[in-house]
Symmetry: C2
Subunit: 402 residues, 2 copies
Amino acid sequence: MPTDLIHGAAVIGQSGGPTAVINESLVGAVLALQPHEAVTAIYGARNGVRGMIENNYVDLTSAPDEFLNRIAATPSAALGSTRDKPDAAYCERIFESLRARDVRYFFYIGGNDSSDTCRIVNELSDQAGYELRCFHIPKTIDNDLMENDHTPGYPSAARFVAKAFTGDNLDNRSLPGIKINIVMGRHAGFLTAAAALARQHQGDGPHLIYLPERNFEPDKFVADVDAIYTKHGRCLIAVSEGIHNAEGESIAHILSQTGEVDDHGNVQLSGSGALGDFLANLLRTELTPEGGKPPRVRADTLGYMQRCYPDASPIDQAEARACGTKAAQVAMSGDLDGSIAIKRDSTTPYKAEPSVVKLTAVAGKTRVMPKEFLKGNHDVSEAFIDYLTPLVGELPTVESFS
Amino acid sequence: MPTDLIHGAAVIGQSGGPTAVINESLVGAVLALQPHEAVTAIYGARNGVRGMIENNYVDLTSAPDEFLNRIAATPSAALGSTRDKPDAAYCERIFESLRARDVRYFFYIGGNDSSDTCRIVNELSDQAGYELRCFHIPKTIDNDLMENDHTPGYPSAARFVAKAFTGDNLDNRSLPGIKINIVMGRHAGFLTAAAALARQHQGDGPHLIYLPERNFEPDKFVADVDAIYTKHGRCLIAVSEGIHNAEGESIAHILSQTGEVDDHGNVQLSGSGALGDFLANLLRTELTPEGGKPPRVRADTLGYMQRCYPDASPIDQAEARACGTKAAQVAMSGDLDGSIAIKRDSTTPYKAEPSVVKLTAVAGKTRVMPKEFLKGNHDVSEAFIDYLTPLVGELPTVESFS
């Protein structure tokens, strides 16, 4: 135990889109902080930075283990989340709130926007000469944080996507047709790619996987689907909500009726069936034989279920907990600030540990799928399957006639 | 064992939208038929009646238990399904196929359209003087078959809907806004109503539940949502895909871009996000304060995942199996034909058994939610919760601050 630890309160917040395991990270940090003498109080900020400027806190200083463990097993952000991105004036208000409570340890659980918030708060505290130790704890179903082998939240979302496609592949086989499923992921295709885990038998879908790491060309899409449909009499397709044309324009954005943009400049992609319906109509129009019946085409948008469906991957739960614990341990070791990142030691047997990296290495940056995880223009590689398989927990085994 | 049992082959088919447990019924019937001397062969018809007219069968006469039990645990129709509705000419072709194989036992697993197919086949065999024992085995996530307390497939779909709303309620609480989820169910609201099982704590959603048993009035809908949103700062809404106006016109139908109708005259309701997006846009438009920002409104359509997500209710699996077994047992008892129906003996402790009813009591008819399961215009009653709870298996328990 270093002797130069500053005494003061700790604050912890949750930010961005929730996940099935974000409360594990919260509870990991709180339980690791509670025994420390230097930590005079532990406050959970309701709705992230917004709770800080509104002095809206939950006192977790003496929250009992049993209650916290029930919170940990609950999906979504129990403290509430936020999409606010603090500017200079907003940060001043955060500091007023933190100073008033003598907060010296700041933990923020979130994705790349949230790690950037953490970086800004850290820089402003440095400029103000206020000793504040800032830690970012990773969380995102998009799996798009730099420095991380993978991020807490992604394995559970990938598990949902794999199971959804397992069921939907069997559904599509029993009543053949063309089926499109739109999967979350703004810039990175990791979550859409998880659909590939549904393949267990010869001919199983998804037969085509469209990722934002590739340009989306409607003509080629129609030709790809036509080829599979002609061969198998059916076609199951995984499409990332983030697909874009060669100019980088999001296909969903072009279709967006709302034009709604959040404080981070992100356009609304989820919570609408527009992209799926557009692609379904495109296929229906282009693949109807002259004078014939249109093929059976359906589109589902997997939607918000992907991030909070209550069936977390056990490894994801354990790792999210470990990331929260690690952040608290590092804060209590005298280091000044940092971002927790999961590093993989080996795949067989699977072994990974949280470590600490610089905030600036993660903040505001986006990781996409590496080339070795892609196969051609509409599939993923065996290397990706090997990477993902140990993360998602046990998946159902299905049987088939023929 | 009756001595007058006619010797011959048995054929079994699966029809209509698949479920997570329809293969349990298939395997229940096959395993119960296999030991009987009167049953000279067991054929699984691929894609229901279509396999019969195309002579496309799987020989199940000696299929091993272990393999069949793996099939049983697999969601969706392992033999393939169909939406074909046989007319007289179609039925003639069915008979040619059945006669050629000396089929004397006919089992058809499906919903109300399928039970009607079964009834027609039965009547035509009577007219032709061909001894054919016909049994309908119930299956539908819509839970809309007459004579049944509930139907195999419904509990598993209800389990998925309850879990999806459990996660989505927590998601919506962490990032408050208005959220619409569209749930399957063409005429009956049972599946949409299952969303109510997500409520565990004060203020939990779904806050509003719109069922096809009530007329849907857009003005009232907007006012209902406004009241909840003003009170709670958020609103989670369950909407049946089958909602209709006072004239009985389906809201989704009015919006339908495809105008696609299946052989049963059913309009395509699923596989499109149009209804959710329409309702979201309506709320966005009507609830934007003058000169202010529109509220955050999102819509998801739960889609095909509802019927084949690989996480079946254990009771549903056991009951689907028991319905298949019962059909085979009744056929081997000398009875001529019938439909298997689940009858509930008691709710506490839960006890139910399959029994036999007349085909004409089920065929082509639709059951909707009884009045005692409804509460006002946009909720369900405690009686419905009591009815549903024992069917879905264990649901996750969630914890909450405050």
